[in-house]
């Protein structure tokens, strides 16, 4: 059946171009993880797989963007067929808006299976659990001179405690710091020991409680329990399918920003320049930690709910940048040409 609308035409062409490279990149990423597995002790470390799994996503993004920019002549100056394209699409974006929607639809179709299947293949949690970051009202430093820190616990079923403090330079001879954990004055089974910064310690919680207390026992490493260093996990709240779908949606934002900047640039530049701008925009967002792609993959692999935490603010910032670029492209009308 013929794709009649520009959105459908662009989407179909992008899928045709990108399907095989994305599949090959996914196979390469998984192969790499199988060949060189990353483990913490005997446990799988799914979040460490993030760079390998970002590879097929990056390939899909790059190929669909390049395919669309080459396909639709409205994206740059002096392209064959631009006159007919302009006559049929007289809107402010000259068809670039619909073509961009086609790109996003194609990428969603390509990345949704990846965000649904790859976490499962990497041993990520099978459900998204309730997750609350605790903060103390006092200075979050734990050492001999401030030997206890108190945190209020949320009113929910408490399953697990995750501690990941920052460690400062040792005061005196190095000795790992041992921390006792109490919930409502009842000590948990064993103490947590920290020998390096950002070291993760996971402890089971008794199910309910109102107050968590961390107490310095011994050691020369001062520990800082900044926001995000003390997290309690509750019962499963969302399925990973929903989280995977949200991840696929959030991963559209770098592509949207790249397409918007390309559309804006294409008002005054030819195809090579437009391709370069889009490629740079994608590269910076994917590998320069600007935008939601890296935090989305990390949160997905750790089993964090994507609509909470710090992923969504990064996504909103990207959405804002892309929208401003698209509006600027609407306002900047193409110059008459000979």
């Amino acid at each position: 059946m013929a794709a009649r609308d520009l959105l459908a035409v662009t989407g179909r062409q992008c899928v045709r171009w990108a399907a095989l490279p994305t599949l090959l990149a996914a196979a390469a990423g998984l192969g790499w993880l199988r060949a060189f597995p990353i483990r913490l002790g005997n446990e799988q470390a799914p979040a460490a797989a993030s760079p390998a799994l970002l590879l097929p996503i990056a390939v899909a993004m790059t190929v669909v963007v390049v395919a669309a920019l080459r396909l639709w002549p409205g994206f740059s100056l002096r392209r064959p067929g631009k006159d007919l394209a302009e006559r049929l699409h007289r809107g402010r974006l000259g068809g670039c808006g619909r073509a961009t929607l086609g790109v996003l639809a194609a990428q969603f179709a390509l990345t949704l299976p990846l965000t649904l299947l790859l976490p499962w293949l990497c041993g990520a949690p099978t459900a998204v659990r309730a997750r609350v970051e605790l903060a103390t009202s006092t200075r979050p430093l734990l050492f001999a001179d401030t030997p206890t820190l108190s945190f209020g616990l949320p009113s929910m079923e408490l399953h697990e405690l995750q501690l990941r403090p920052l460690a400062m330079l040792p005061r005196g001879t190095f000795q790992p710091t041992r921390v006792g954990v109490r919930v409502d004055d009842r000590a948990l089974g064993t103490d947590a020991t920290f020998a390096e910064t950002r070291q993760l310690q996971v402890m089971p919680l008794p199910g309910d409680g109102a107050r968590l207390e961390l107490a310095w026992v011994e050691g020369t490493l001062p520990l800082v329990f900044a926001p995000g260093a003390v997290v309690v996990l509750g019962p499963p709240r969302h399925g990973m399918l929903g989280n995977g779908a949200i991840a696929a949606l959030l991963l559209l934002l770098p592509t949207f920003v790249a397409m918007a900047l390309a559309t804006l640039c294409g008002r005054v530049a030819g195809l090579p320049t437009v391709l370069a701008v889009a490629a740079i925009a994608l590269f910076v967002q994917l590998f320069g930690e600007l935008g939601p792609s890296s935090p989305t993959m990390l949160a997905l692999l750790r089993g964090h709910w994507l609509l909470a935490g710090d992923v969504f603010p990064a996504a909103l910032a990207s959405l804002g940048v892309g929208s401003v670029a698209m509006i600027a492209a609407m306002l900047l009308r193409p110059r008459p040409r000979r």
């Binding site: 009649r4 396909l71 639709w72 008459p336």
Partner: protein, 288 residues
């Protein structure tokens, strides 16, 4: 006949104030429906610029133009006016039926109507054999015919064609010219810029001649090409009778410019010896 295109003091200037290039000097023109108008002129004379202004793709720097009573870039004129540019087609990855389906959807035709019209024009312009090949792999002539099919899909009242027959073989040219005659007979105004003077002479009712962006001549072809000479075409006389007839003409005060044996047209020769691969004669492949 009603006015299809009206242009008053239309001017287009490119470049800045320091080095302006006047593509069109102030130009007045009125073209009527049901006519085929040829726009002639050397390269850089402003033919394409005039067509792009009429298609709503180029904003004039002076004067104004109306097509069918509205601005060239009005929403209604997007469908009522068709433009066939000289440049290649967009979306070259699509096959001919896919491309026409896209054009039909953009013109607001229903799927059924679009498919029916596309099938008709694909047949008429002999593009059926292209099947599902991407249009970017088409020959120049096939691309031209597909462009014309796209232009005709909306059944426009004004057709603006930039070099519609360049790159076409004689059979393709003949098909295109027949279609253009039919459209004009149906009341459409056809404006074609062309360097093929013989075709323009054969098909156009009137011509507009541009040079350096200025209107040099304009009028009905018969008036522009008329001379004070007359020709007498005779068939069936022998040489002696012909000399006697010439002597009689001289005796009456006439001047014999030349006596020649008329030749057939080159196209007739082409048709006699070449066969279109798109229209194999029955029996050519030994089966029919």
């Amino acid at each position: 006949m009603a006015t299809a295109i009206s242009v008053q003091q239309l001017a287009v200037t490119f470049g800045g104030r320091r080095a302006p290039v006047h593509a069109l000097h102030p130009l007045d023109l009125t073209l009527e429906t049901g006519r085929i108008v040829g726009v002639l002129g050397p390269n850089g004379s402003g033919k394409t610029t005039l067509l792009r202004v009429l298609a709503g793709l180029q904003h004039p720097t002076g004067g104004n133009a109306t097509i069918l009573g509205e601005a060239p870039d009005s929403a209604r004129n997007r469908v009522r006016v068709a433009f066939q540019p000289e440049e290649p087609l967009p979306l070259g990855v699509l096959s001919a039926p896919e491309f026409l389906a896209w054009v039909g959807a953009e013109l607001g035709l229903s799927n059924a109507e679009s498919d029916a019209r596309a099938a008709r024009w694909l047949d008429r312009l002999e593009l059926r054999h292209a099947g599902n090949r991407a249009s970017r792999t088409f020959s120049t002539g096939m691309q031209k015919r597909l462009q014309l099919a796209a232009a005709l899909l909306g059944e426009p009242e004004v057709l603006l064609l930039d070099e519609p027959t360049s790159g076409l073989d004689p059979f393709g040219s003949e098909v295109v010219m027949t279609i253009l005659r039919e459209r004009a007979a149906a009341g459409a105004c056809v404006v074609m810029a062309s360097h093929h003077l013989l075709e323009v002479e054969e098909i156009c009712d009137e011509v507009v001649v541009l040079h350096g962006g200025r209107l040099c001549a304009r009028g009905a072809l018969g008036e522009l090409l008329a001379t004070d000479a007359h020709a007498l075409v005779v068939r069936g006389l022998g040489d002696a009778d012909l000399q006697a007839l010439a002597g009689d003409a001289k005796a009456r005060g006439g001047e014999i410019v030349r006596i020649e044996r008329p030749r057939d047209h080159l196209f007739a020769l082409f048709r006699r010896f070449a066969r279109s691969p798109r229209n194999p004669t029955p029996g050519d492949d030994g089966r029919a």
